[in-house]
């Protein structure tokens, strides 16, 4: 319910609606985008970053909250556990029970390996579950993997590792088919054609969806399949330290029961990090659309054993996080709202940008509109701009919102806002970790053998910005890829003597670099205790 103070601005938005629907706003030129990003995008705020003093990326800058975790002490010392008596012994240890972890587990199982999933919360508690808008694949007549490649490569500022992006786009249709064969329900017309839309920065309509529960539909199906295959899932158990063998290869992890704090040793021939993102690190004080457990754990685990990060200095701020009401502050408002025709409108009822620019550009543009241009709406809890959802019903016909974005309708409906009739207020929210651990085409880290990575913990697939719908895609493509390859590898591996000697080595590096912080990592969960705000 909007109070009186919004009514003046609401009226302007309403009055301009028909005119704004007819308007085709110009897209920005490459130069305009570059200037906008350099001036307003959070990635360019240099004083929010810190240069790493130790580790494989020494000398490179990362968000300061991440630097603190990467350079923090281990939660344990080497003699806290007995490595000669592992509690778990498997071929493929998968850390993380989200979309990437489950995809990897299914493929590892399919390849005949003994896979085990460990996850600090429940299986399916992951950003995958919260992905709303859709998943990309170039499967229509007017589209091709090459066009998909160009969209993603350009949208990521030409920084993606080409061989990874090649795999992403080329395996995309097969990933969709695989999901569909598992029983994932995609939005189709009566002849079976996929109902697809644009996302920001796509040049073809290749966004496949399951209403606006796309990630949830994928995640619950993958979870069901993991359970059907009786793949062991050890839940409420976090990996807090990787274990190497005497040859320096990944060979397991130390696990901690989240409730009892008991430690377990898991020995494995190969390890897959599928721990997801970092929104709960609240970089630069941003709210987040992410899951409770998104605390960059995998980056920390990998970094401490020497694995290299790529593009850890780039984050994605989703342009449309909910800015009002405050109970859902920062929650994701899917890009699909704009795919379906809603435009971004300032407090004066003016459309100030093309609604389907890439996410980094759109976020920077909203920050500019609310900042220097002073055209933001005061929400009582910060600023925001309007996302004019009633446009969708006018363009697509009555009932479009209920049919295509029911989760959005429900989320705002609970607070008395009918998005079919009233616009909503949005502001950028921390959404995605563009960077992560550096991998090769097989999904293995570039410098720690038998350590694989999949999903949001990977860096380099998308470059320095990611298009909508390419993350759900990458967790499937690279999750499966890692599962298959790790299973394959496990057949040739002879694990040497297990060791945690890297913990002392890391401590020594810290001392030599003069780091004396007392913090421990990985973070595992954010701390909101006694705070009235999530930060």
């Amino acid at each position: 319910m909007y109070s009186e103070k919004f009514s003046e601005s609401l009226k302007l938005v309403e009055q301009a609606r028909d005119k704004n629907i007819a308007l085709e706003p110009a897209r920005m030129t490459a130069e305009q985008k570059d200037t906008l990003l350099a001036t307003y995008h959070p990635d360019y705020k240099t004083d929010e970053f810190e240069v790493l003093k130790i580790g494989a990326n020494k000398g490179e800058k990362v968000p300061m909250e991440l630097a603190a975790m990467l350079e923090a002490k281990s939660r344990i010392s080497a003699n806290d556990v007995d490595l000669t008596k592992p509690d778990i012994d498997c071929d493929v240890l998968i850390i993380g029970g989200g979309g990437a972890g489950c995809s990897a587990a299914i493929e590892a199982d399919e390849a005949g390996a003994k896979a085990v999933i460990v996850t600090k919360l429940r299986i399916g508690d992951a950003n995958t579950m919260m992905a709303e808008g859709g998943i990309q694949a170039a499967d229509k007549e007017n589209d091709s993997p090459a066009i998909h490649f160009l969209d993603a490569f350009g949208g990521g500022h030409f920084a993606a590792k080409k061989e990874l992006l090649y795999k992403l786009v080329n395996n995309a249709p097969e990933a969709i088919l695989w999901l569909n064969e598992l029983g994932v329900e995609f939005d189709k017309d009566k002849d079976g054609n996929m109902i697809t839309t644009h996302g920001g920065g796509t040049s073809r309509k290749r966004m496949h969806a399951a209403k606006d529960y796309s990630g949830a539909e994928i995640m619950r199906t993958l979870r069901d399949e993991v359970l059907n295959r009786k793949i062991p899932v050890i839940d409420f158990t976090a990996a807090i330290e990787l274990i190497l063998d005497e040859n320096g290869n990944a060979a397991g992890a130390v696990l901690m029961n989240m409730e009892t704090k008991d430690l377990l040793v898991a020995k494995a021939k190969t390890v897959i990090i599928a721990t997801g993102g970092a929104g709960r690190m609240h970089y630069q004080g941003f709210p987040t659309s992410n899951h409770y457990g998104a605390t960059a754990d995998g980056l920390v685990l990998g970094y401490r054993v020497g694995a290299k990060l790529l593009y850890a200095d780039t984050l994605q701020y989703h342009p449309t996080g909910a800015a009002f009401p405050e109970q859902i502050f920062g929650a994701l408002v899917t890009e699909k709202v704009r795919s379906l025709g809603a435009k971004l409108v300032n407090k004066n009822g003016e459309v100030f940008m093309h609604p389907l620019e890439t996410r980094d550009v759109a976020a920077a543009s909203i920050i500019r509109e609310c900042g220097d241009r002073q055209n933001g709406v005061d929400t009582g809890n910060g600023l925001g701009v309007w996302l004019d959802t009633p446009m969708i019903e006018k363009i697509g016909g009555e009932g479009t919102i209920e049919k295509r974005i029911p989760a959005m309708m429900r989320m705002f409906g609970k607070y008395g806002i009918d998005i079919r009739k009233e616009p909503i207020l949005v502001y950028p929210t921390l959404h995605y970790q563009n960077g992560g651990l550096d991998i090769n085409e097989n999904g293995e880290t570039t410098n720690v053998k038998n350590l694989f990575v999949a999903g949001e913990a990977v860096g380099g697939i998308h470059g320095r910005n990611r298009l909508m719908g390419n993350s759900l895609l990458d967790i499937i493509v690279f999750g499966r890829n890692a599962g298959t390859n790790a299973a394959q590898r496990s057949k040739e591996v002879n694990v040497g003597k297990l060791t945690l000697s890297h913990i002392d080595k890391f401590l020594k590096e810290r001392n030599e670099a003069g780091i004396d912080s007392t913090e421990v990592s990985p973070k595992l969960l954010p701390n909101y205790v006694h705070n009235a705000k999530e930060q």
Partner: protein, 224 residues
């Protein structure tokens, strides 16, 4: 000073700002959540919660992350509920009501009390989708249950011991895999890729210098 309300978390009183969700109120009161907290955005079903307002007979069910506190709210979370999940091979199951009789026969013991529907945190017509499942109308069951977050509150209220979310999960997978029309253009494209149709095109593109890629990107045609 914000307006405060009294809430009773597992019966114990705490004073919290009135604008908080139940989940935030628990944290504000000092709980570091491990269970009963997942996506915090209404998609994962981790935070099923039951509550009653003092003096009110009615028992309510909700998601703690999606519900604002009220004065005199008595709160108990339901972080886990023992749903029955039967295992099956999706490649080998029969696609008619027989599979339900085999895996979830208890659905035929539904007494029509509608407690499931009344308690659904997503406002779904749960009893109706169970009826569809009984009749083997899996497409309808899938559609009716689509927004389910599998929080399990319905099952906690069911006198027949039905695990509604798992029944619906099976129906949706059957519908997605077997009943919904196959996608011709998808199957064609997968075959084309297997045949290497786009290999040269992609490899050519990848080998171009960045400047040329930028030109191509900045002037690419965008489908209306």
């Amino acid at each position: 000073m914000e307006n405060m309300v009294n809430v009773f978390i597992f019966g114990k009183r705490y004073s919290v700002p009135e604008n908080l969700t139940i989940m935030r109120a628990m944290e504000y009161s000092g709980y570091q959540l491990i269970r009963g907290c997942g996506c915090r955005n209404g998609f994962c079903g981790a935070c099923a919660t039951i509550y009653r307002i003092k003096g009110d007979k009615e028992l309510h069910a909700c998601l703690a992350c999606q519900t604002k506190v009220e004065d005199n709210m008595y709160i108990a979370t339901l972080p886990f509920f023992p749903l029955v999940k039967q295992v099956y091979d999706i490649e080998k199951i029969s696609v008619n009501e027989q599979i339900m009789m085999q895996l979830y026969p208890e659905i035929y013991a539904c007494i029509g009390c509608n407690a499931c529907t009344k308690s659904c945190t997503q406002g779904l017509n749960v009893m109706q989708y169970i009826a569809y499942a009984q009749r083997g109308e899996f497409d309808k069951c899938a559609d009716e249950s689509f927004d389910c977050v599998m929080c399990g509150v319905c099952s906690s209220r069911c006198p027949a011991g039905i695990s509604h979310p798992q029944v619906a999960m099976l129906a949706r997978r059957i519908n997605g895999k077997y009943l919904a029309p196959k996608c011709g253009h998808l199957e064609n494209r997968v075959k084309e890729i297997k045949d290497g149709t786009f290999k040269d095109l992609l490899e050519d593109l990848m080998q171009k210098p960045v400047e040329e890629m930028k030109e191509l990107y900045n002037h690419r045609e965008i489908e209306k």
